[in-house]
Structure formats: structure tokens, C-alpha cells
């Protein structure tokens, strides 16, 4: 009778250790799979739309025209800049930075208004060049501080 009372009085405890192990494994799994995805960055551009008539007497600087050839080589206003093998396009970036500085100087001294004086870059790429080459040019523009980028089809 005493033994039976003792058995009935004993509390059954559930061992939680395996559950905690599984829980931690799940946590680590979801932490790792969440971190593995590389974040995507963005480069903005505008497609050529209807020409906006801002007035006959509005002075605007000439847009910079960049051409990308089939092999990725880059020409800026007709002059060869880079061969496209180096995606950073160092010569193009340098040239664009100088042009942006020039445009900002012209805005500061009143030659052009702030709205119309910003440097505009028109990018045209041949059909056989790959997407990376145009992105390299847009990247060079972003690095040089060009805010207005458009495309020529």
C-alpha cells in the first residue's frame, strides 16, 4: 500500500532537452537561409518620352552621348574611352566627373538654370552588346554624380 502510494505520488516529468535541441536547429536553419540571399541594388533611368516644351529661349547644355559597341567598348561624344573589359570604365568615369563639375559650375554662375542645367547622358548600345555593358556605363554615371540618364533606341 505504501509502495502504491509512492508510485502514484511521483510526478512524471517530461524531458524537454530534445525539444530545445530541435528548436535551436530550426532557428539556426532559418537564420542561415535568410542571410544567404544577396541584396539587390538599383540603378534608375528614364525612358525617352514626349519632348517637353519648356520655352523657346530656355538654354540647355548639350547632352553627353555615350555609345556602347558590340564588344562593350565605350565612346563618349565620338571619342574612345574604355574597351569594356574593366566594368568600372575608369576613363569614362573620369570624363563624366569632369563634365558634371562643369555643368554644376555653369549652374552656379547662372549660365543655365538649376532645372535645365543638369548634365544629361544619353546611352545608346548596339543590339549585340550585352546588358552588363550598358549597366557598366550607368554605373559610371552613378559614380560621377549624373542624375539624368536616358536611352537612345
Amino acid at each position: 500500500m505504501e509502495t502504491l502510494k509512492k508510485i502514484l505520488a511521483d510526478e512524471d516529468e517530461v524531458d524537454l532537452t530534445p525539444m530545445i535541441d530541435v528548436t535551436f536547429l530550426l532557428l539556426i536553419y532559418f537564420m542561415v537561409t535568410t542571410m544567404l540571399k544577396q541584396p539587390e541594388a538599383e540603378l534608375s533611368s528614364s525612358l525617352p518620352g514626349k519632348a517637353q516644351n519648356s520655352g523657346e529661349n530656355v538654354k540647355k547644355p548639350d547632352p553627353v552621348k555615350i555609345k556602347v559597341q558590340d564588344d562593350g567598348s565605350v565612346f563618349l561624344n565620338g571619342s574612345f574611352m574604355d574597351d569594356g573589359l574593366d566594368f568600372t570604365l575608369p576613363e569614362t568615369s573620369k570624363n563624366l566627373a569632369v563634365q558634371v563639375q562643369e555643368a554644376n559650375k555653369n549652374i552656379a554662375n547662372g549660365t543655365f538654370s538649376e532645372k535645365d542645367g543638369k548634365l544629361v547622358v544619353m546611352i545608346s548600345a548596339t543590339g549585340l552588346s550585352i546588358h552588363q555593358h550598358r549597366i557598366s556605363v550607368m554605373n559610371a554615371c552613378a559614380g560621377a554624380g549624373v542624375e539624368k540618364i536616358s536611352f537612345e533606341f
Binding site: 524537454l16 528548436t23 532559418f30 535568410t34 541594388a41 525612358l47 543590339g127 550585352i130 549597366i135 559610371a140
Partner: protein, 137 residues
């Protein structure tokens, strides 16, 4: 002298709050992982642009992805849904005030990208954002 028996004590720590916190963390990471994967399909690679910026909380936009399959050719996606090339204009027209996020693998030719840009322009949208990676994978 009778044997001294120390009083029974239960010194084991109470693990219940720790388990609650761990479950909360699991649910958090499950939700975050799902949210990151639900917007668009995964592409093998994107173009590289070191000066591009990661947008932390972008506004809603129309997401068009293009991948190339050696057997099936070009495949177009609107979000996670596969569509025909001709449906891109309609997809853009659905939300005329949303800009377009264009995700393209870097080897795709410019002629194909230009066709897509013209379809986007036909949808009345002029703001196009290209998705890139800041560094190579």
C-alpha cells in the same frame, strides 16, 4: 544521532521563458525568409554595378524579370508569374503610377532589353529601375 537528510530542493532552472523567446525568434525568421522570397523569382545572376544603392524600403513597383534558358529561350516573369513578352505592356498598365523594376541576367543582348524597354514605354511608364548586384556573387 539519526542521519541528517538535507531538505529536498529543486534547483533546476525554469526553461519556459527561454523556449518562448526561441519560438518567437523562429517565427520571426520564418516570416522574414518568406517575405524576401515572395516578390519575384530568383535569377542566376544580375549585372554588377558597384555604385548602385540597395533600397531598404522601396515603394511598390511592377517587377519584370527576364532569364534565358538554352532550351526554351527567353522567359519573362511579372513578379513570380511567367508571362509572354506581349503581356509586359499590360502588366505595366495595371499600375500606371508604379515605376518598373527590370531584372535581367547580364548576358542577355541589348536588342532584347531594348524591346522590353519599348514595351514598358508603350505601357506609359518612363521610369525604369535596373536591378543589379553591388559585387559579384
Amino acid at each position: 544521532m539519526s542521519k541528517y537528510k538535507p531538505p529536498e530542493s529543486n534547483d533546476s532552472p525554469d526553461l519556459t521563458p527561454m523556449i518562448d523567446v526561441v519560438f518567437l525568434l523562429i517565427v520571426f525568421f520564418m516570416v522574414v525568409a518568406q517575405r524576401m522570397s515572395e516578390q519575384y523569382i530568383a535569377l542566376d545572376s544580375l549585372a554588377i554595378a558597384a555604385n548602385a544603392q540597395v533600397s531598404e524600403q522601396p515603394p511598390p513597383r511592377t517587377i519584370i524579370s527576364v532569364s534565358e534558358d538554352p532550351i526554351n529561350g527567353y522567359q519573362y516573369y511579372w513578379g513570380e508569374q511567367q508571362i509572354d513578352e506581349s503581356a509586359i505592356t499590360d502588366a505595366v498598365k495595371r499600375h500606371p503610377d508604379w515605376s518598373v523594376l527590370l531584372r535581367v541576367t547580364p548576358e542577355i543582348t541589348q536588342a532584347t532589353v531594348d524591346d522590353i524597354l519599348q514595351l514598358i514605354a508603350a505601357g506609359g511608364q518612363s521610369k525604369v529601375i535596373f536591378a543589379v548586384f553591388e559585387v559579384a556573387q
